[in-house]
């Protein structure tokens, strides 16, 4: 067993909160640059250029890309040969979020669902734990903004709807979103498992590097078709008209129940922030 002190996890999470909010991933930046070339609307091109400038400012000045610094969504891949010492792992993760959001001048966005009173330290984060072979701990942190999360849906399709039904549902969902989720967006599609598993797959799909299609050729073709259909809707950057509404569609799939066809659509704004570290 390899011992990992939970204080290392706190430090790592704290840094990830700040870095993820200040530095737009390179693949997203590159995709936005390509979008400037593809966009036909002058207003759309202006929006994309401003988004790129914004990312430059955030990086240079180490300020948040977006004022919505999100709920911290954390994927913990824990090697089965790791033994955590020095305290409670969950509390260590929470403490990292607390410190990162405070010291990084990040906005705290968690609140009571009904009174709407702000929790004040951006806890709790949403933590997904996975046990994997090995003796390492991989932490991926993705701040998720409310605007695009609000536009996400899970639909329990009928098996008879098939792949065509999935594609139609995803395109329809985007069509209904308009400018709300801060387009150009990344569309995560999760099909399979149960109700909550499909949503998890859709979220995971958002973390895949842009420009890397699903290795399954049929799914890769579906991604491409959905992307083209979404962009043909004409909604464009910020929904003000144009030819680039989505930068990518990422489709993840797993087996499901013989009675079901769960289909989740998780939408990410252009500030598709995520950072990772391995301890």
């Amino acid at each position: 067993m390899r011992e990992v002190n939970v204080s290392e996890v706190t430090e790592a999470v704290k840094k990830l909160c700040m870095d993820a909010n200040y530095y737009l991933p390179e693949d997203v930046y590159n995709a936005l640059q390509e979008a400037v070339q593809k966009e036909r609307s002058p207003v759309g091109r202006f929006v994309l250029e401003q988004i790129l400038r914004n990312a430059d400012i955030a990086r240079e000045e180490q300020v948040p890309i977006c004022q919505d610094c999100g709920l911290a969504v954390i994927f913990m891949e824990i090697g089965q040969d790791v033994k955590f010492v020095g305290g409670d792992l969950k509390e260590a993760i929470y403490e990292g979020v607390r410190q990162g959001y405070k010291e990084g001048y990040l906005r705290k966005s968690t609140c009571h669902p009904f009174t709407r009173a702000n929790v004040g330290d951006n806890t709790p984060p949403v933590v997904h734990y996975d046990i994997v072979p090995g003796d390492k701990v991989r932490i991926v942190l993705a701040p998720k903004g409310g605007g695009s999360e609000n536009m996400s849906r899970v639909m329990m399709l009928k098996p008879a709807d098939g792949l065509e039904g999935v594609k139609d549902y995803v395109v329809q969902r985007c069509s209904e979103c308009g400018g709300n989720p801060c387009p150009p967006v990344i569309v995560g599609v999760g099909v399979g498992g149960t109700f909550e598993r499909s949503a998890f797959l859709a979220k995971k799909a958002l973390l895949r590097p842009l420009g890397r299609p699903n290795p399954d050729l049929e799914l890769a073709a579906a991604e491409q078709e959905m992307l083209e259909r979404i962009n043909k809707l004409g909604m464009g950057p910020m929904g003000w008209g144009g030819t680039v509404y989505a930068l990518a569609v990422h489709f993840e799939m797993e087996p499901c129940h013989i009675a079901s066809l769960p289909c989740a659509v998780n939408i990410n704004c252009h500030a598709a922030r995520h950072k990772e570290v391995t301890i």
Binding site: C69, N180, C182, K232
Partner: protein
């Protein structure tokens, strides 16, 4: 800045908003106020109880934003727009009282669009997710009400050449609809 901008200074008059059409790029100057979900709820509750609002909305512009905390030496943190439809249940009441502008992102309800026509108010869009860039046009910020709401408190901002685009004008036009019609590729 490009030359095709219209410069406006708050407070705005009926004449100011009447000359604006969807797609116009505007640079706002002067004082604007912030308010998002929780602040709107409180303001409308105050009105229902016959109480005063934290500021006189006549001629003013409300920016739907919840900024990040200011780093030392800066007036404000990142400060881009939040999604506007969540303010749709509240906006018509403020528009009827003489509010002249709102800044946010995303579309508005028919009720808001109708109120904009009836009472002459404009809905501006700012670029969502460009909070670091937009913050540079905010020169001063102070909390004037509902401090307990944290990022959602009502702030008085002084802005210089704050860039927005007209999404809904006083003539009932809608940039989201028009823009989409222009670029939609029909099969």
């Amino acid at each position: 800045m490009a030359e095709d901008y219209i410069r406006l200074t708050t407070p705005l008059s009926d004449e100011d908003v009447e000359r604006l059409k969807i797609g116009d790029r505007v640079l706002l100057n002067g004082v604007i106020y912030t308010g998002r979900d929780a602040a709107h709820k409180r303001m409308v509750e105050a009105l229902d109880k016959g109480e005063d609002l934290p500021f006189d909305v006549r001629g003013q512009v409300i920016y739907f934003v919840g900024p990040t905390p200011a780093k030392p030496g800066k007036p404000i943190g990142s400060a881009g727009p939040t999604t506007s439809y969540r303010m749709d249940p509240y906006s018509p009441k403020l528009i009827a009282l003489g509010l002249k502008g709102m800044i946010g992102k995303g579309g508005r309800s028919q009720e808001v669009i109708d109120a904009c026509v009836k009472y002459k108010c404009v809905y501006f869009g700012a670029i969502g997710g460009a909070g670091a860039l937009l913050a540079k046009q905010i020169k001063k910020a102070e909390v004037i009400a509902y401090e307990d709401l944290g990022p959602e408190a009502v702030r008085r901002l002084e802005v210089e050449d704050f860039p927005v685009i007209v999404v809904n004008d006083v003539y009932g036009n809608d940039l989201e609809k028009e823009g989409r019609n222009q670029y939609e590729v029909k099969e």
